[in-house]
């Protein structure tokens, strides 16, 4: 903290009813500002919880700082700017359901509509439907279906069948029943007489004439063509990411996921985390989820914030990087390389500042600093594994030449655990290994690899987490690229690159660890690995 003051209030950013629910849960922890990015009708919202300050509609213009002192700049409808400080941020944007009618080349009218329109104007659409009429729902084919939208379809179909007596059909690709009670709901609808037709080879065709619309399809189970002319035709919507998602992600410095949905594609972001401490994402903005799941996430994020508030009262223990101001040349490499955006630049401060709350101790900044101006302070426990130089000096090996000697840089989140597990199982390694515990593959600098090679070992292995499950987001991929560069450099110098191995292994995968080391050992001995050990390099695989 720059000024030692810690703010504990929460900024909730949303675009619909869900963010009110989230703000309500958080209000029991500390004061909450609810920034709703759109004009929304208040009567459609959940009741505005007490203790929550409502900013609506509001534009978020700027964002900076660290947990406990995030600064947000707003512009409100009256044009006025405001700057506020928050302890935490919760992004509760909702995804949107977009009509798929254009994908079927049809236009909305009184007979043809989308599921969300039907939901909104149910009486208008169903008012003229009666016995003898036909109603058809179409689910999937042009987009992914989700249990949450199929739940609506099955409920509507059952209600239409029961209340109007109309012949009701649901044409679908898959039953998406992965939600409590849905399997049963589908059965109950069938018992009411709703006809579900499932397709795997063909797609129904929709034709719209001036008088009637026709759905033509192949009943795959019966092997015959079917024609239906429904009085009402309803298409399932497509789940689309929140339109504000990209802008908000960029502004907050959090990774965006696939197809524009929120939350970066990294294992350790699950369930509600981002690459930044103190910034969370909850709800359907990450991808469609049921209301119950979304509620659970709202409670979970309130718990996370309460926990962080508790942690502010405690002193930061354990290793923490410190920056030597005399060595810093303000190249800002650390600022750019920190995967958690824990390094800030403050006007008037001589050097970048590292937030002890946001820092997760991966050591990527230490590796990336060209001046070696950043160092880990050793915590009370006296952990020294961050000091790779010292560790290398301690590489011990017995004076035995029957098996290769290997220095292993092992990530503490994965390969090091796998090594300990292999050891405790009594697995046999066909190499004499000195295993160096590193906080992240991204911490291992090229110089350390070369130094380790020079210490008299036969080979150096750098074993990290799999990409996408690296706790420091891009630590493993940085490491892979760096090792590839070291190998290239060595080849140019005429040194055999085979003496270096990059591999990935999970913490519980003792057999994969053993397999990686033993194959490497064989390679170092000039043997052909594949002929002796079955399979290829396990779930790992080497850098190319």
């Amino acid at each position: 903290m720059t000024d030692g003051r810690v703010n504990r209030s929460v900024l909730v950013v949303g675009n619909g009813p869900y963010c009110f629910k989230v703000a309500g849960e958080l209000a029991s922890v500390d004061s909450v500002s609810l920034a709703v990015l759109r004009e929304a009708r208040l009567d459609e919202m959940e009741q505005k919880p007490n203790l929550v300050e409502l900013l609506m509609p509001v534009e978020l213009l700027g964002f900076s700082g660290q947990p406990g002192e995030f600064r947000a700049v707003f512009r409100q409808t009256n044009g006025s700017h405001a700057e506020r400080t928050y302890g935490f941020v919760v992004v509760a944007l909702e995804s949107e359901w977009i009509s798929t009618l254009n994908k079927w080349s049809v236009v909305e009218d009184s007979r043809i509509t989308s599921l969300s329109k039907l939901e909104k104007y149910v009486n208008e659409y169903l008012g003229n439907i009666g016995p003898g009429d036909k109603v058809v729902f179409i689910s999937g084919f042009k987009q992914d279906s989700y249990p949450v939208s199929q739940e609506k379809i099955v409920n509507f179909a059952a209600a239409v069948r029961e209340k109007t007596g109309a012949a009701t059909y649901v044409l679908m690709e898959q039953f998406k029943v992965a939600q409590e009670g849905l399997e049963r709901a589908f059965r109950l609808a069938r018992e009411l007489g709703v006809v579900f037709v499932k397709f795997s080879q063909t797609i129904p065709e929709v034709r719209v004439g001036p008088k009637e619309c026709t759905v033509q399809y192949m009943d795959e189970a019966m092997g015959q063509a079917v024609n239906i002319s429904p009085q009402l035709l309803i298409f399932e919507d497509e789940a689309c990411p929140p339109p504000e998602g990209r802008y908000i992600s960029d502004l907050l410095g959090i990774n965006l996921g696939n197809q524009g949905f929120l939350q970066g594609d990294f294992l350790f972001n699950l369930p509600i985390y981002t690459n930044r401490t103190g910034i969370f994402v909850v709800g359907s903005g990450k991808g469609p989820i049921s209301e119950r799941e979304a509620e659970r996430e709202a409670e979970a994020v309130a718990e996370e914030v309460a926990k962080l508030v508790c942690s502010f009262d405690k002193e930061v223990v354990g290793p923490f990087p410190t920056l030597n101001e005399n060595e810093c040349i303000h190249c800002l490499t650390c600022y750019r390389s920190c995967p958690h955006k824990a390094i800030s630049l403050y006007p008037g401060q001589r050097s970048p500042q590292i937030s002890p709350v946001a820092c997760r101790g991966c050591g990527i900044c230490v590796e990336s600093c060209p001046r070696r101006a950043i160092d880990f302070e050793h915590g009370e426990s006296g952990i020294s594994y961050y000091d790779i130089d010292k560790e290398i000096d301690h590489i011990v090996y017995e004076d035995s030449r029957d098996v290769p000697r290997i220095a292993v840089f092992a990530c503490v989140n994965s390969a090091y655990d796998a090594y300990l597990l292999a050891k405790s199982r009594g697995d046999r390694l066909q190499a004499r290994c000195s295993v160096l515990k590193v906080p992240c593959g991204g911490r291992v600098e090229a110089a350390a690899v070369i130094k380790a090679l020079g210490s008299g070992v036969d080979g150096v292995a750098i074993l990290t987490c799999h990409e996408n499950s690296c706790k420091s987001v891009h630590g493993a991929s940085r490491c892979r690229k760096r090792i590839a560069a070291v190998k290239e450099m060595m080849t140019k110098c005429g040194v055999k690159e085979e003496a270096i191995l990059f591999g990935t292994v999970a913490p519980g995968s003792a057999p994969q660890f053993v397999e990686l080391i033993n194959r490497f050992s064989l390679r170092l001995q000039g043997g052909d690995g594949s002929s002796i050990i079955p399979g290829n390099a396990g779930s790992g695989g080497e850098a190319r």
């Binding site: 029991s28 992914d144 279906s145 898959q174 998406k176 029943v177 992965a178 939600q179 409590e180 009670g181 849905l182 399997e183 049963r184 059965r187 080879q201 795959e220 092997g223 996921g257 696939n258 294992l267 350790f268 699950l270 369930p271 509600i272 991808g287 799941e293 659970r296 996430e297 409670e299 979970a300 309130a302 718990e303 996370e304 926990k307 942690s311 989140n413 994965s414 655990d417 796998a418 300990l420 405790s424 987490c465 799999h466 990409e467 996408n468 499950s469 706790k471 292994v505 999970a506 913490p507 519980g508 003792a510 057999p511 994969q512 397999e515 079955p534 399979g535 290829n536 779930s539 695989g541």
Partner: protein, 411 residues
């Protein structure tokens, strides 16, 4: 002030997460686990990565266990069951029974002398953790103890240098006054009945996905039980014990499609020549970005809609699987080297008793649900409530911890 103890029933990923979160909120959880180890079923999930992480979520479990191992943030009791719960005024009086044959984890240093002693006798009475982050790393499976069966003193007791292994004449009891209870008793994997059309139990190369998991974690590969060889042709049969009203399981187990698709990709990555067929009813969405895995599987494996009918033995441990081919519009039979039954999640057998004891409800599928208002002294979390994956369990555990902490603040 007296500590407000919260009893967390179940030491799986949900129970441990609840306890960890409560401890970090300054509360005093006590985890009660009937098994010998902490971590539950999720601790022995194997990594299913290819050259990238497929988010099987196993590493989330490791991370939680690691935190617990190094920080010891809360009290726990393994080998322990609840023999009685009484509600009096605002408190619960819980009687806990430990042992009688158990390892005292406070004395245990995870050295493994007990395990070796037991293994030397060819028995499996001492069990070992699947993750190095499990502490205690060893525990007692009394039913598998060969010494007790012979009426002898267990060898492990003598071998333990710390004197950490207790064998008492009757269980050690302890009474705890608790202010709240979190039920995180999890699920039980479906086991096909003795007579089943899959040939499970009769054909050695028809195994459940749980057995495949154990094999993958232990040895690093899924091989044929009959000869230990890497299978060339593998069939996955989905929805075994799920979505079947006739066996009382009219629900989707939710995690199995993701399981099979990930395992299929893992096997194809490891053995590119392997030929995989997945028999399914519908492919369910699982987690974030499921479409990516689904389309990759569609490219690399064969997906057959409809579950196969007959399974019978062929030569060399092969299994003939017959099914209706929609392409050919007729029944066909195909030989496989290995058949994996993707089994579903079943509610725990004890759920009705537990519901009775704690005033909980049971949903139509047999899982537990809260019967009181939200701010109650009993919270149910994780797969005790219904099928969910590890990330969902963690989320549910955090929400349960939040409810429990709020309840304590309010009371």
């Amino acid at each position: 002030m007296q500590k407000e103890v919260i009893i967390v029933i179940g030491g799986g990923i949900t129970g441990l997460t609840v306890a960890l979160e409560l401890a970090q909120l300054g509360k005093h959880p006590l985890v009660v686990e009937r098994g010998p180890l902490l971590g539950g079923r999720s601790a022995s999930l194997p990594c299913k990565a290819t050259d990238r992480c497929l988010k099987c979520n196993n590493c989330l479990v490791e991370d939680t266990l690691r935190q617990i191992k190094y920080d010891s943030p809360f009290e726990f009791m393994t080998h322990t069951t609840i023999s009685d719960i009484r509600r009096e005024a605002e408190s619960w009086y819980v009687t806990l029974e430990t042992g009688p044959f158990f390892i005292d984890w406070e004395k245990c240093t995870d050295c493994g002398a007990c395990y070796e002693a037991c293994a030397r006798l060819g028995a499996s009475g001492v069990v070992r953790g699947a993750s190095i982050n499990q502490h205690p790393f060893f525990g007692i499976d009394q039913k598998a103890c060969s010494c007790l069966q012979k009426g002898a003193d267990p060898a492990c007791v003598k071998e333990c240098p710390e004197g950490a292994i207790n064998i008492l004449t009757r269980p050690q009891t302890r009474q705890v006054k608790a202010h709240g209870i979190v039920v995180a008793t999890g699920y039980t994997p479906y086991v096909p009945p003795e007579k089943n059309r899959f040939g499970y139990g009769r054909l050695p190369n028809v195994i459940t996905t749980q057995e495949a998991d154990e094999m993958l974690r232990e040895s690093g590969a899924v091989t044929r039980p009959s000869d230990g060889r890497v299978p060339q042709r593998v069939a996955f049969v989905q929805c075994v014990g799920s979505r079947d009203r006739r066996i009382g399981r009219e629900y989707c187990s939710r995690i199995c499609c993701g399981y099979s698709l990930r395992l299929a990709l893992h096997m194809i990555h490891k053995y590119p020549d392997v030929d995989i067929t997945i028999f399914y009813m519908d492919i369910q969405n699982f987690g974030k970005d499921f479409e990516k895995y689904y389309s990759e599987v569609k490219d690399k494996a064969k997906l057959v809609r409809g579950l196969p009918g007959d399974f019978y033995a062929l030569d060399e441990g092969k299994i003939s699987v017959s099914y209706f081919s929609e392409e050919q519009q007729k029944n066909v039979a195909q030989p496989f080297d290995l058949v994996l039954l993707t089994i579903g999640l079943s509610p725990q057998e004890e759920n009705p008793d537990l519901a009775n004891m704690l005033g909980l409800g049971i949903n139509e599928d047999g899982f537990l649900r809260p019967s009181q208002a939200d701010a109650s002294a009993v919270v149910v979390a994780g797969t005790a409530r219904g099928p969910m994956d590890v990330a969902e369990c963690i989320c549910d555990a955090k929400s349960a911890a939040f409810k429990m902490a709020n309840f304590l603040e309010g009371s």
